[in-house]
Amino acid sequence: MLIFYALLLFMIIAALIAVETKNLLGAVICVGAIGFGGALMFLFLRAPDIAITQIVVEVLSLIILIRATIARHVTPVSGDREFVGAVVSVAIVLTLFVAGVKVLDALPPFGDPIFVRTPGAASQTYLEQGLRQTGAANIVSSVILDYRAYDTLGEATVLFTSILGAAAILRGKSRKLVKESDA
């Protein structure tokens, strides 16, 4: 139990540094620290599949983020937005936080998941029937590849669409633009 608090504290401190540091590369590395802390936390939360995925995704996203920040003569963007706007934003964020923490009281305590109390919950059915119906020992993979396979299909569609969009945005100038700049 203590390890969860320690890891979450580590993640919050890394997030604080990432938010407040002036060095962009440092901020990116701090976000990587949050991600790997999260992967470790998933491992302790008995979610090995997610921990593996998180590590892979984290490495890839660090490469993408460093590609954006390194080797650019980044002019330091000093300060926040207008003072009044910043104060109002902080006030709104704090208000939301206080209100949200009140809502969290309505949840069952940590370590007592909701699906146990719900009769006929989908999770319970997956745990009971997953092995027999799909033949997969890993219930998570039986959910993503069998019970909710359309979800995974949609995920792949979204992923490839976004990569397509990124490729379209990053593509060099089109012929029309090149011609216009020559003229």
């Binding site: 608090y5 979450l8 993640m11 919050i12 997030a15 938010v19 962009l24 901020a27 976000v31 999260g38 998933f42 008995r46 979610a47 997610i50 995925t53 998180q54 995704v57 996203s61 993408i64 983020l65 590609r67 920040t69 002019t75 963007v77 926040d80 937005r81 910043a86 934003s89 902080v90 964020v93 936080f97 949200g100 969290l104 940590f110 370590g111 007592d112 998941p113 699906f115 999770s123 997956y126 009971e128 997953g130 092995l131 027999r132 890993n138 219930i139 998570v140 959910v143 993503i144 909710r148 979800d151 995920e155 979204v158 992923l159 976004s162 990569i163 969009g165 990124a166 945005i169 990053l170």
Partner: protein, 124 residues
């Protein structure tokens, strides 16, 4: 308490996305929010003294209709449904991050700065 800390992490990301002027910082704020939400969903499904939702040999028993899982597994396994959905969400967050960063790189190539107020000024 853990939920509240997770929520604080989310709020840090929101603050970063709302207040900062640097485009890459805004993207980092959104990424932090994604981490917090994923972590929160997994925290909701955790059980004390739990095992991963993977049927080990010790949780198998031979019943009347073939192999079935034992009651110990049903009492101990964590919730598999949020894990499956968060798996999807993590992969999609990589796609959105790639898209956001490519927009940032493109804007940097056009305006030569990551400062969103400068970009507004140059356009008008």
């Amino acid at each position: 308490m853990l939920y509240a800390m997770c929520f604080a992490l989310f709020m840090l990301g929101l603050y970063c996305a709302v207040v900062k002027k640097n485009m890459v910082k805004i993207v980092l704020g959104i990424v932090i929010m994604e981490y917090a939400v994923n972590l929160f969903l997994i925290l909701l499904g955790f059980r004390t003294d739990a095992v991963a939702p993977i049927v080990d040999r010790q949780f198998l028993e031979t019943g009347a209709d073939g192999m079935t899982v034992t009651g110990a597994f049903l009492r101990q396994a964590v919730d598999p449904l949020p894990q499956a959905l968060v798996l999807t969400s993590i992969v999609i967050s990589l796609g959105t991050l790639a898209l956001m960063i490519s927009v940032c790189i493109r804007i940097y190539g056009k305006y030569g700065t990551f400062d969103i107020t400068e970009i507004r000024r140059l356009k008008g």
